[in-house]
Symmetry: C2
Subunit: 603 residues, 2 copies
């Protein structure tokens, strides 16, 4: 422990050299601080390596503390809770009543009226037969209602995942030329998407999807929307020019004809499709890649939507549990002629607004789709392709979030860059590469922030013991003979040399300024460590080096307010001994007060 | 701007519910704070996007402000300064005197006596003819003395880069089977190493080498040292067992014989080797890869060593300039029969201790090597291989830094893991992949810290306006009706959902605790934003969501001490309006004081 002085020293008045209006020359005549006691900087309570590891792992994998309800319960109760944990339906079903059912019927029928045209359009995005959109609105919602923890999520196919599946598969396989292979690949991709999603949930690696930032998704959706609009525009124009036979044939009719030709998709309920899963052959890699990309995209949308509505109704959805639910529903879907589904933003919004209370609204929607599949399908036979193309273009153009992009530009230029990259990457390169570039930019931004952290010069806010950035607070004043620097990042191998040089540059610049203004010479550098939330071995070496270098220049280096784990590491590495008794203080204010009073004592 | 209240409110005494010894129930009877004025949170001075971009770029690429000396100078002076900038020799040569020369001669001769046996051994590490080690101690030091900014760097071949070059090239090409191809690849790799190093310097991308952490290098060196020792041990044992003809032949004699066979390496001064650079053919990729890896490794050592000794003598070396110097000296070296060189730790340490004053000591060393090359070479003809093998093993075993590894284990387990990975990666996989894995772990550690940041519950340290972690400071006391949370990381897309859930969990846990202890109900959540050094658009949305969610639960959310750029972004995104007048405070203390006094006013 570095600091042992507990003397109740009062702050002495410091010499005033200059108090002009020049910003550079702002110096405090007198530190108007209340009498300060000098407090000891504490180490956090000691823990063994195992305890630390357990705490660290539980923060990484179980930040939501899923077991907190199991504490102090009987065995039977624990079993019931476990059942409720894996099948949330057991949690709310016992309290289900008629009034809830009425709300759920209304909202379920409302989303069904949206789900049917939407399902047809989205299946077209994926170049799949429209009926797959309806199949996908039947089985997955039923499974989700058993396993899902959100009460408002409307489940079904979504635009992004549909677009991506269509564009990725169509690059290699054409539905019109080999519909069976295309369908096989779509179901297999759905299977792998589900497998990937549920594994993420089981391994509690949910934070992987956090790396798809909103900025990336805004750019990505706009890019994908423009591609689809152009594809559909070609279809629309094809109908205008009767000369081109290929393009005259309405895609819808051809698709329906092909459906008849396929035979594996009979009218009526979802036919089983587990025999169509494709586990070996030249296109397996394509199916897996498509599955991973659509899986992560649909997961991102599903989790984000679930969280949004849960937050509005003041309950929490468990991200990892949701991943398992969405994953299992896609695995089941891949065996029952469905393609990738997730919680859809538009359906969930309609569901929420129509007053949905529980996942029963998904069951009602599925029932309505069932009726359609059994009795109303012939009505869709004559839907003209142009109409469908128009619906699709209208829908996808709505995905282009101009305002979102403008807000990104206004608030964060690097976010905007990530957005642009995913936009143009999807457009000019390919979907997975475009997304990859955008994620890389986002990660690069984090690394850049870590490898080039901010350092601020602090000054005292008159009349308070508070020290703040001289740049942000014009009223803040410098303390003569001190340079107070705040480091705004953990000190890591990636920034330790930069920080050492940057701090020495600050000291050099301050020395030049002091000389130019004829102020009292520098004697002490205080590093405010409040925002240094972690330190590694390179960082510790840097502090040690820095102290040595400053020592040679007769400058004292003092640390203020090291946080718990930084203090612990400083202690473990024995570096605190080299800082001496007066090397670590609880706050900048106490450091300034104590050090300047010690100067007074020994002039 | 959120906060406009400037009322000079005094802190009211808060009701005391409990003051037991239970740590969970520690509550403050009275906030013993001095009278506080409520201060406005300021925005940093407004800057245009261009200004911000320029500032950001200058911090990334020019953190050392290399142009600060050019300010307020005449044209002629600027020209002179530019000359001095690119050729530091012009900086010190005018002040050079006899006394300096005497020191430099002593230190130069001292390092020459080290350089000659070291050069021979290190060339063997790289499976190259020993004379290349001497050549490499002649031309590069001369060039460095013109361009380098370190006064104490001793230039020559180094162990790591030699080891790596040997192991990477020998995997594909054997020196004994095709010595000319091997030499060609070694010179080409040296050329690319130099090209890569000088480009990093010219593009000011020096921070790339910061990603090779000390932990990685400790593991890497130990792994490489063991491999080389085993290789040499085989040589030693080969001499013991005379039965095996392949291993009887002393490697040294065969190497010297091969040198005679090659003919391109005549006795005397460095022969030119630019005609041996290999720019097309099947092995070009190998040469480039070897060049990149040895280039980055030697650069890391050279810069680190230069910085270490500069810090001891209280001057600064310019990382980017050093990269250019080291890069150009390797390019020149590749054209004069040298292989990769850099600032060597052992030579520099000897140089420094022998009293070197300027880069002239490198010139003296080069002259001594010159004399050796011209006149003393025959003496080395009969050096037995066993002796060389023993020297090498002794040298490399010294590279295994047990204590360093133990310190890593003690201070930072993840650093130790990176160290282990580079150790075993180099051993069992390959040099570049082993290094790659270690760098990936280091980067992963940064990302993990960002995606799962710490959140702390703060309490007041009695008798001060300071708020600190309840976990670290046992004397800190909770304030009734408040939860004060510190977020210890920037709020980014990568952690925004985690943070939202974690904060809501803290609130839930605090509510449960309050209920269990019959304390006064929670009314206000204060987020201490001191360590939130940056925020992006996802982070802003999270704060907005969080405020909405807490609002529904009748809990007030207040921010304390947002730093400059966070404040700026909150302002730009108009989120401050939603926080209302009393939503942002300068410090936690002021927030607590003002909010609790407002509760008193309207009960």
């Amino acid at each position: 422990m570095g600091v042992n002085s507990y003397s109740n020293s009062r702050v002495e008045h410091l010499a005033c050299n200059n108090n002009g209006s020049n910003n550079n020359m702002k110096i405090q005549a007198e530190i108007q601080m209340p009498p300060l006691e000098i407090h000891k900087v504490r180490l956090p309570p000691e823990r063994t390596t195992l305890q630390k590891l357990r705490h660290r792992l539980s923060e990484i994998f179980f930040p939501d503390d899923p077991l907190h309800r199991f504490k102090n319960q009987t065995c039977l109760m624990k079993l019931l809770l476990a059942l409720q944990y894996f099948f949330p339906i057991f949690q709310w079903a016992p309290h289900y009543n008629l009034s809830l059912l009425r709300s759920d019927i209304i909202s379920g029928l409302t989303i069904a009226s949206l789900a049917i045209p939407q399902g047809i359009s989205y299946a077209k995005f994926a170049n799949l037969p429209p009926i797959l959109g309806l199949y996908s609105s039947f089985v997955p919602p039923l499974i989700y209602s058993l396993l899902g923890s959100s009460r408002h999520l409307g489940v079904g196919p979504v635009s992004i995942a549909s677009l991506v599946m269509g564009s990725m598969l169509s690059e290699t396989v054409s539905f019109s030329q080999d519909p069976i292979l295309y369908l096989k690949l779509a179901f297999t991709a759905t299977f792998f998407a589900g497998l990937f999603q549920s594994s993420l949930g089981i391994l509690r690696l949910g934070f992987v999807i956090d790396f798809l930032s909103k900025a990336t998704l805004v750019g990505f959706m706009a890019g994908a929307a423009i591609i689809v609009s152009l594809q559909q525009l070609k279809g629309l124009l094809g109908i205008v020019h009767f000369t081109n036979k290929m393009q005259i044939t309405p895609v819808l009719i051809s698709v329906f004809k092909q459906r008849d030709e396929i035979g594996e998709l009979p009218k009526g309920l979802n036919p089983p499709s587990s025999n169509m899963l494709y586990f070996n052959g030249p296109y397996l890699a394509l199916a897996i890649k498509t599955g991973l990309v659509t899986g992560i995209l649909s997961l991102t949308e599903g989790i984000a939507v679930g969280r949004t509505f849960a937050a509005l109704k003041n309950y929490q959805v468990d991200g990892n549990k949701e991943m398992m639910a969405i994953g299992l529903m896609n695995i089941a879907g891949s065996c029952s002629s469905c393609y990738v589904t997730t919680g859809s933003f538009s359906r969930s919004a309609v569901n929420y607004n129509a007053g949905a209370q529980t996942a029963v609204s998904n069951i009602i929607m599925a029932s309505a789709v069932l009726v359609t599949l059994l009795f109303l399908m012939p009505l869709f036979y004559y839907t003209p392709n142009v109409v469908l193309a128009a619906i699709i273009i209208t829908a996808v153009v709505g995905l282009i979030d101009y305002q979102g992009a403008y807000k990104l530009w206004k608030v964060d230029k690097l976010d905007f860059l990530a957005c642009l990259c995913s936009f143009f990457g999807v457009w000019f390169i390919s979907v997975p590469l475009g997304l990859g570039i955008a994620v890389a930019i986002s990660v690069f931004k984090i690394l850049l922030h870590v490898s080039r952290p901010n350092t601020l010069v602090l000054g005292n806010i008159p009349g308070t013991p508070i020290f703040h950035s001289l740049n942000q607070y014009r009223e803040a004043l410098r303390i003569p003979s001190f340079v107070i620097l705040a480091v705004e990042s953990p000190i890591y191998f990636a920034n330790s040399t930069y920080l050492q040089e940057r701090i020495l540059r600050w000291v050099r610049e301050e020395e030049e300024r002091v000389k130019a203004n004829n102020e009292s010479t520098l004697k002490c550098i205080i590093l405010d460590m409040t925002a240094v939330t972690a330190i590694d071995t390179s960082g510790i070496d840097t502090l040690y080096e820095l102290r040595k270098v400053l020592d040679k220049r007769s400058l004292q280096l003092v640390l203020a307010n090291p946080v718990g784990n930084v203090m612990e590491k400083l202690h473990q590495s024995n570096i605190l001994d080299s800082f001496g008794l007066k090397g670590v203080y609880l706050s900048v204010g106490e450091a300034v007060a104590d050090i300047s009073s010690s100067w007074k004592a020994q002039p």
